[in-house]
Symmetry: C2
Subunit: 283 residues, 2 copies
């Protein structure tokens, strides 16, 4: 049984309890982050913590700890769990309030919850096979730059993708791919690596941001523009990035093969560059 | 301290606890309903339960009890609390799952949580003064017909309305009012009572549905079409409906007076018709 962190205490995950009056439960009034752990260390931690700070600020939740304290608690959680690879899930909500009013009282004490999942990240079957993606309408709210726990649309999209025989959903709005249900979407064309610009329409992916920097440093062009499903279907390669998948080739979209149907060289190279970066900078 | 219901048990609300692994907390993967209580009885209960069934079916959560059993539990909750007026809040989530996977395991046991709020519904200052509304962009997801607990956009809209000196937010999309952050929006024109048609863009309001039927029975025309903010500003009256407000006149929109700035006769008459209906049919 893994160890969780809840409001300053470490305890067995199965024993962690919160009030159902928590606004995270009643209103999805909370923010989350997922950080990869490799070699028992947090990957790209500063980037995740900066995004946590941006998201909580965007909805007016005051962090109950400093970012340095949060990182230290995450590190302690990793040590207590002892998993060399996995994911640290972190959620901050506005706290519990018996009035259940849409307007939150100003004096609520935020809830901070973390737990760690034991999960292989580096060597998984999907790295060798690539994954299939299914496209569908993007039903999400307008502030996707805020990493809120309001994830029902994403959960529905993932379930629909699974029902269609795919691993990830690529969400489409006004004819263009926004992003994956839990990942950033990329294609490889003659131009270089194409991915959607930052805006309120997409989450600023931490893994994607680091990976595009690595791509540019290695001489690959990164073009930030929207792309269509039709473009993706005829791309040389397609891939996704996220903290939990790092970088995975997309070899089928809506049942159609991309490239030669196997993980492509650009995605594989970027995955390795990212893993090298992750290991070198993990804390 | 009020009494809550959690998964078959009645207990003091302050003692109710759930796992933070509940998908209601992690993914907003849950549905809620709020029913008014007047004279110690549930108002328009069948309508709320039918909507609960529709919403849970839409996201594939199996009800842990029959609708009749849920209603009986709500009634028992009202008896145990002893509040003659108030609100019964009910939430069903897909349940707790330690994997935190977007794809929920099929065998999860749903969480059913209810509590009652002691709240005057019939005689409130807002009935006499009317309320102010602030308009703002509708940021919500595309499936507003599903009464999900993903309410962060609504909470943000309510807070922005409060900051603008208003009680309710009217959300606007493509130039038309969709609905209030937690209410249905109506205007009164020469045509009659105008409110937006049912679609995935709005929640099918239980109180609004009953009230429009009562309006038609009393000889008032009900026109289901979208209306703009400009139309609302020049309407004879404007009002909202919801389980917690029943029917309240809107006397200011974005600081501009509607009609003569006092609650109008149509809204006041409809409020009384609704209260009569509520008392006559409460269970």
């Amino acid at each position: 049984m893994s160890v969780a962190y809840l409001n300053g205490r470490y305890l067995p995950l199965a024993q962690a309890r919160i009030s159902p009056l928590d606004r995270g439960f009643l209103f999805a009034d909370g923010i989350y982050e997922v950080a990869a752990v490799i070699d028992g260390k947090l990957v790209d931690s500063a980037s995740h913590l900066a995004r946590l700070e941006r998201s909580t600020a965007a909805i007016g939740i005051a962090l109950p700890l400093s970012l340095a304290q949060i990182e230290a608690a995450q590190q302690e959680l990793v040590v207590r769990n002892g998993f060399p690879q996995g994911l640290v899930y972190l959620q901050i909500t506005r706290g519990a309030d018996a009035t259940r009013d849409f307007i939150a009282p100003a004096d609520l004490q935020p809830t901070l919850f973390m737990f760690m999942q034991d999960k292989p990240l580096l060597d998984t079957p999907a790295v060798r096979t690539g994954i299939a993606v299914a496209t569908m309408a993007d039903l999400r709210w307008a502030r996707r730059d805020i990493k809120s726990v309001g994830l029902l649309a994403q959960a529905m999209a993932k379930q629909a993708a699974k029902d269609a025989g795919a691993t990830e959903a690529w969400m489409v709005e006004d004819g263009f791919v926004t992003e994956g249900a839990s990942s950033t979407a990329f294609i490889v064309t003659d131009e270089g690596i194409v991915t959607r610009p930052y805006s309120q329409s997409v989450l600023a992916g931490c893994t994607g941001a680091a990976l595009t920097t690595l791509a540019q440093e290695s001489g690959l062009a990164v073009i930030r523009r929207p792309f269509t499903v039709a473009e993706a279907l005829t791309a040389q390669e397609a891939f996704i990035t996220s903290a939990s998948t790092l970088c995975l080739s997309v070899v089928r979209i809506d049942g159609q093969q991309i490239g030669d149907g196997a993980p492509g060289p650009v995605a594989m190279r970027l995955r390795q560059l990212y893993i090298d970066f992750a290991r070198a900078t993990a804390v």
